[in-house]
């Protein structure tokens, strides 16, 4: 293999991992607050469509990304309202969110299936982008890629270096105690869910604005679910999300290149790899950690909170 191909593969892996990083880091905050939102796939696809439509009509990528965030937050709010105010079951509500999101996106996007947009181009950073090897590998992306990695840092900093982050984690571990000492459990959780929606929205928009210039109702192809797997894989530790996302990005790219190399396996079997990897990774995680229960898992994950006082 020549140098150019290796560089292309590394770039491909980084780009393929970005939607997963966005979606997973958002969900990580949600789960740290004790909420299990299975609607990531639905929020991603809605973000992908909103971004695409705004990009198509305005040509303004900044507005497009903003629209994707808002769209993700809008449908995340439905989830927040139902689970936090009306105390519905997290699993069922999250599933409803995914079904609704997939449906409404396909429905509202029906007139956009035949049009194309300009993809957001990579930013050229003077000097740095021109470096040999490191230039293309590290400095040849569009801004969203850097933002994704920065968000991981930001979330880590928030969760482990700020008072609010500490409160959020406390709420996720014991909502009754946190409530008893006067923290507003519901408000924290609603904000966390909205953040999760915004991140999933950007993750989806990355697919429709950076990766492919067309809109398709199946373009998320289970990435929302893989992102949920990544959160478990990360043991709810932000930086491990990057590691997990790179593994999946790697598998995705490997599969594409394998198809290009005329390897005699049906394309379908290669396409199974990301999904099978998710399962294998989750199993291997448990092999390493022999303890019966997952110690880092937020204790109140998915439990309904209702204050009596």
């Amino acid at each position: 293999m020549n140098e150019g191909l290796i560089i292309a593969i590394i770039i491909g892996i980084s780009v393929a991992s970005v939607p997963l990083i966005f979606a997973a880091i958002g969900e990580l905050v949600v789960e740290r607050s004790g909420v299990l939102n299975l609607g990531v796939e639905g929020m991603m696809i809605v973000g992908a469509l909103a971004g695409f439509i705004v990009e198509f009509h305005t040509g303004n990528s900044f507005l497009a990304v903003l629209a994707a965030m808002l769209a993700g937050m809008a449908i995340a709010f439905t989830f927040a309202f139902l689970t936090q105010i009306l105390l519905t079951n997290h699993v069922a509500t999250g599933l409803a969110l995914t079904l609704f999101g997939l449906g409404i996106a396909a429905f509202a996007g029906r007139t956009y299936t035949e049009v194309r947009i300009e993809l957001i181009p990579a930013t050229h950073i003077p000097l740095l982008s021109d470096l040999p090897i490191f230039g293309p590998i590290l400095f040849s992306y569009n801004p969203l890629v850097y933002i994704a990695f920065f968000m991981v840092f930001l979330v880590w900093w928030f969760l482990f270096r700020t008072k609010q982050g500490l409160i959020l984690r406390a709420i996720g571990d014991n909502h009754d105690a946190a409530h008893a000492i006067g923290h507003n459990v519901i408000r924290y959780r609603i904000l966390a869910i909205l953040f999760g929606g915004a991140m999933a929205g950007i993750g989806g928009a990355f697919l429709s604005l950076v990766q492919v210039p067309i809109w398709g109702e199946d373009m998320t192809a289970g990435r929302g679910w893989i992102a949920l797997g990544l959160v478990v894989f990360s043991s709810w530790q932000p930086f491990k999300v990057i590691l997990g996302a790179l593994i999946f990005g790697g598998i995705t790219i490997l599969q594409l290149h394998a198809q290009g190399f005329d390897i005699r396996i049906s394309a379908q079997y290669l396409s199974m790899l990301p999904y099978l990897t998710t399962i294998i990774v989750l199993v291997s995680l448990r092999l390493r950690d022999k303890s019966k229960t997952n110690r880092t898992m937020p204790n109140c994950l998915g439990r309904i909170f209702h204050s009596t006082s």
Binding site: L87, T88, A106, A221, T278, N294
Partner: protein, 359 residues
């Protein structure tokens, strides 16, 4: 400020009223969404095609029954697991695998006819579905891996596997390279029970299964164990119930019946294996189970209601060229509203002004 105050006992009236309220709210919301999105089509015509036509025409009524069969079957299996807190979200995958293994038997005995063929196909389908669900059970028990993610990932794998099979070993040799199997011959097809329609024996089985499940949950000790394991896992442990057994039992039952549903679809309305087998039934059945509050008999009715959204969606596609995903919009909304309205059973809504003054 509005507050929720727990009722001293669940409201009987609300148990029946909340689904109706949810349905009404869904239709009203759908009306507003459609008015907003479908500026080019007359909304009243869409609504007629979606909700009225399927209920007054014999053909559509028979199609409702056809669509209800897989939904009833899968939802029954899921309802058992959901009671136990076992979340088999990938019934769609077990459904597809059941269709493949059962269909494989039909294709293997392509030139043989016999009354034994359908039972053999059914057995293969049940085992296929059970096997597929058992992966999730095994991983949950042995490695504490979340069954939601495993069953879901395996759904994507199953659909890809079906596609690989249809382009490879199962492709019709005289089918012009279309990714479809041969058509099943008559003794591999479920007998039609309503002449002139596609309603087949599967419906009878689906209804029998509902009553068997109802009886099982009501009378049998394992039904009791499952219920307690779901609502109070610690108590279940102290009582000596084996939660491993419950996980195995829930996943094997729901996987087996989903597999059988897949075969009933292939050997029923489809009549072969083709890429149209996965129809999202596995996911929709989750809604069916919830709408029925996991009650086996109520599942029959909620399956018919959800089948209506399928038929309505197909109509909207044919008449107005709308995407069939309109069905998912309805289903998602219906579940949202249903979950929301159910709060009225356990809680009552109180305006808090008066309470605050007391404090």
């Amino acid at each position: 400020m509005i507050r929720l105050i727990p009722r001293t006992q669940p409201s009987k009236a609300m148990i029946f009223l909340s689904p109706l309220l949810a349905l009404t709210l869904t239709v009203v919301t759908a009306f507003f969404i459609f008015t907003f999105i479908l500026t080019d089509i007359e909304i009243s015509r869409v609504f007629y095609a979606l909700f009225v036509e399927p209920l007054i025409d014999t053909y559509y009524i028979s199609e409702l029954l056809v669509k209800a069969v897989p939904l009833i079957m899968i939802a029954l299996g899921l309802s058992i697991g959901f009671r136990a807190g076992v979340w088999n979200i990938g019934a769609e995958g077990q459904y597809v695998i059941g269709g493949i293994t059962g269909g494989a038997v039909a294709l293997f005995f392509y030139d043989v006819e016999g009354f034994w063929l359908l039972p053999l196909m059914s057995l293969a389908a049940i085992l296929g579905g059970m096997f597929y669900a058992s992966i999730a059970a095994f991983l949950r028990i042995k490695y504490q891996v979340n069954e939601i993610l495993v069953t879901l990932m395996l759904t994507y794998v199953a659909v890809l596997f079906l596609s690989a099979m249809l382009q490879g070993p199962m492709r019709d040799p005289s089918g012009f390279n279309f990714p479809e199997s041969r058509l099943f011959h008559d003794s591999a097809l479920l007998p039609i029970i309503w002449q002139g329609t596609r309603v087949n024996l599967g419906l009878v089985f689906a209804i029998i299964f509902s009553f068997v499940t109802w009886f099982g949950i009501k009378k049998h000790i394992s039904g009791m164990q499952i219920k307690i394991t779901g609502s109070a896992p610690r108590a279940a442990k102290f009582a000596g119930f084996d939660d491993k057994k419950t996980i195995w039992f829930s996943l094997l039952i729901s996987g087996g019946i989903a597999g059988l549903a897949g075969l009933f679809e292939a050997a029923g309305p489809i009549g072969q294996l083709n890429p149209g087998l996965p129809q999202f039934y596995g996911f929709t059945a989750i809604i069916v189970a919830f709408l029925a509050r996991l009650h086996p008999i109520a599942i029959i009715f909620s399956a018919l209601l959800i089948a209506l959204t399928y038929i309505g969606g197909e109509n909207a596609q044919i008449y107005f060229n709308l995407p069939s995903s309109i069905t998912n919009v309805f289903q998602g909304m219906l579940l949202f509203y249903f979950l929301a309205c159910d709060i009225l059973i356990q809680y009552k809504i109180v305006f808090i002004k008066a309470i605050r003054q007391k404090l």
